[in-house]
Subunit: 459 residues, 2 copies
């Protein structure tokens, strides 16, 4: 009998990285600055102080290559980290591919996704700054769940505005947030000026991440003991997520592998950046040369269909202006099941790297993604969240190309969360009730309309 | 700063046990035989052949101390095993206890519970015997999900009768079974004689595990290429689950610990037996002396309120007669959220050991259990299934006793599944909508009535 197949590459708690990697240090060219919407001038730390603690603001602009992870954060990370790296032998066998597919599995976290990697340090730095309560937005609920978990770990309050499409479709994450002690409001809500303005115009609005951000930011800005926490997009968020890629590097080294292709799903970009940035560092240092490919939903394709311009992070236009790939801050995407990918913009860091040619990007329809998710569940066992099924669909596409070509490529992807709380989406797919469409001329017209509302500085 | 706390004790795939432990070999006294309901004589292998493959029948009666795990089963186990052993530092800190609480976490399996430990070998041995389809019952859905996962791994069909109370309350596990490719019917159904008979008498029946077993057994008995699979109670099921305790022994040894108390929840007894049996072996060999405590729901207390007698495993009276602690095979317990613990009987092996004084048993109401579950989620992060909250409530009770006495006891429990698909139960608890009551005189009268219907051989 052949030697047993090794399915998992594990690290001990002792082997867990103790530093985050700051890609800003190594960028071939510096990214454009974040601008104040009133003055059009670069924002300084003081501009951000109403929302964020100084530790996070300094991380946002830091030029240091590495940032030490505080021991209080490491101690919470160790509840689930290091996360396992899997070799997807059974998926490979089902595909008949000579490719070797590895996936980094973040679904082992208590919240079920990669989001606690940044929720925990964000809660910690806020607590250290004397903040007692955090507000945030959430789409499918992954981020809200993560922040509620993190706040529970540090004895803080957590208040979450959840996009109504997900609040109604997927009540389980609301329940999980409440189990962790958090409070949840459907967004748009009548608790904020931003929410009331949307409801006045669109009483049946199913919401968007942009609207929910406006609501959470408004409440945080009005209360001295309350700050806002963002689950993606910003530099410090992507910084915290680099622990994914740092661990994956150590794990692949343990089995003597070097990736030929990295694929990750992109909503705001934090899972993707967290996986890819440490590998880009290795590439820039000449130690490997992987292709790095972002996969976005066809219904919300900010990289492949958006414009690279200064835009607001939220719908109401309360945030600083970031140069990013955007569909326009008031573009409201279809209520697809991958709620975490329903964001009009893309992380400035990812956008910049895409402009520089360091990344590729493709878009996938949700049926193709769920087909990949079902095949993955039936072979590898773990049921993926809708978001990473985008990455799986692209990994499978590449593995099938390898089957044609005979190439033994090493493909690395991130399964950034489990789909236990997204099963109604699988139910819709399996019962043939999933609506699915390609990007259309009407979509492009809606984006063109939204882009006419970009702030003046973008022109 | 103090040395970092170690939260997890891991084993590599190489360190995974390759044998199951058969407690029958070491029992101080042999258990009573299983009887044929018609003849009142002990059943032989041929009596069980319509339902089970010969490999499992031989395991059911084997006197060997160990059974080698087939490589095909080990390969699927390695998708998630060895499972982690956690030290619950943060729970201990919240309780202020000097006790050291360890929990073996089976929620990392693809199905989210310990059930795949036996589903996988059961599917494998059936496939080896030429069987193409398995039928089964499921309560909350943990077992049905596990069997559907296992059947997907071996390319087999899977058909599941789910207790209607759970089918209606918790649709997510039905969806997960279907994601793995299985089919689900609410029980009682009109697809079987057993189901139709119940519906004729109780059209609004919320079902029970006993009824669902009758339906699944009926279909398996009628089809040559179809067998039945049971998720608990039987000797071979508990045998397969001993990998839990075997791993936990290795893991505790790695950190130099010996348990003073084992606590586990008991429905049919497989999680409890799987954890406890290897430790009982060590106790009988004089290497440790843990107290072993079973925790059952107050609404279905087969050990603490039942009778030790021969009874059927199912409601319709189609199974062989087993000597076990039973509430009577037609006793229908309250539809509590811990659906996996709603079974009228207790594994014959566990019942025998209880009679022999090797185990203690206590019962807990569901509110006490959910209070423990919420505390656990907010400290340790992982949200437990309703079933293991019973064990957690008992572990916490003991840890608080240690706080009074100052004893530094080592408590080991099994978190046999995550509660991601049971969040409506947490929602009911947190919103104050959970019905909860102690065992009453009316319950006792219902059991007395059910016990009058025990088969003649029991008298």
């Amino acid at each position: 009998m052949a030697a047993p197949l090794q399915h998992k590459v594990l690290l001990t708690e002792d082997e867990m990285p103790t530093r985050w990697y700051n890609v800003l240090h190594d960028l071939p060219t510096p990214p454009p600055p974040v601008l104040h919407p009133g003055t059009g001038q670069p924002v300084g730390p003081d501009d951000l102080a109403p929302l964020f603690p100084m530790d996070l603001i300094l991380q946002e602009v830091s030029g240091e290559q590495y940032v030490d992870i505080p021991e209080e954060v490491l101690d919470v990370y160790r509840l689930w980290r290091p996360s396992p790296l899997f070799r997807a032998h059974r998926l490979e066998q089902a595909l008949g591919t000579p490719a070797r597919i590895y996936y980094k599995y973040e679904g082992v976290s208590p919240a079920g996704s990669h989001k606690p990697n940044t929720a925990v340090p964000q809660a910690f730095y806020n607590l250290k700054a004397g903040i007692r309560k955090l507000t945030t937005e959430t789409g499918a609920g992954q981020w809200g769940t993560a922040l509620a978990f993190a706040c529970a770990q540090f004895g803080m309050e957590c208040e979450v505005w959840q996009v109504r499409a997900s609040y109604d479709q997927k009540p389980y994450r609301r329940m999980m947030i409440e189990t962790f002690g958090g409070r949840v409001h459907p967004s748009p809500s009548d608790l904020t000026n931003a929410g009331r303005a949307i409801l006045a115009e669109h009483p049946d609005s199913t919401g968007s991440l942009g609207i929910a951000i406006s609501e959470a930011v408004e409440v945080a800005a009005q209360n001295a003991d309350t700050n806002y926490a963002l689950g993606s997009v910003l530099n410090h968020v992507l910084l915290h997520q680099t622990i994914i890629g740092e661990e994956a590097l150590l794990q692949l080294a343990k089995v003597g592998e070097t990736p030929d292709l990295l694929v990750g799903c992109t909503g705001g970009g934090s899972n993707f950046g967290g996986l890819a940035f440490p590998f880009l560092r290795e590439k820039w240092a000449g130690r490997m040369s992987p292709v790095v490919r972002a996969v976005e939903p066809a219904a919300c394709p900010s990289l492949t269909q958006g414009t690279y311009a200064y835009d607001f992070g939220d719908t109401a236009g309360m945030t600083p202006l970031m140069k990013m790939h955007t569909l326009g801050h008031d573009f409201i995407p279809d209520p697809i099941h991958a709620g975490g990918l329903r964001y009009h913009g893309m992380s400035p860091l990812i956008s910049h790297l895409y402009e520089e040619g360091e990344l590729e990007a493709i878009a996938k329809t949700q049926s193709e993604c769920f087909a990949a998710g079902v095949l993955f569940a039936r072979t590898e066992g773990n049921v993926p969240a809708p978001e990473p099924t985008h990455a799986l669909a692209a990994a499978i596409e590449e593995a099938l190309r390898c089957k044609e070509s005979g190439e033994e490529k090493v493909i690395l992807t991130a399964l950034c969360g489990h789909g236990h709380l997204d099963l109604p989406a699988y139910d819709a797919y399996l019962s043939g009730a999933m609506s699915d469409r390609e990007w259309t001329d009407a979509d492009q017209a809606a984006v063109a309309e939204a882009l006419t509302k970009l702030p003046a500085v973008s022109q």
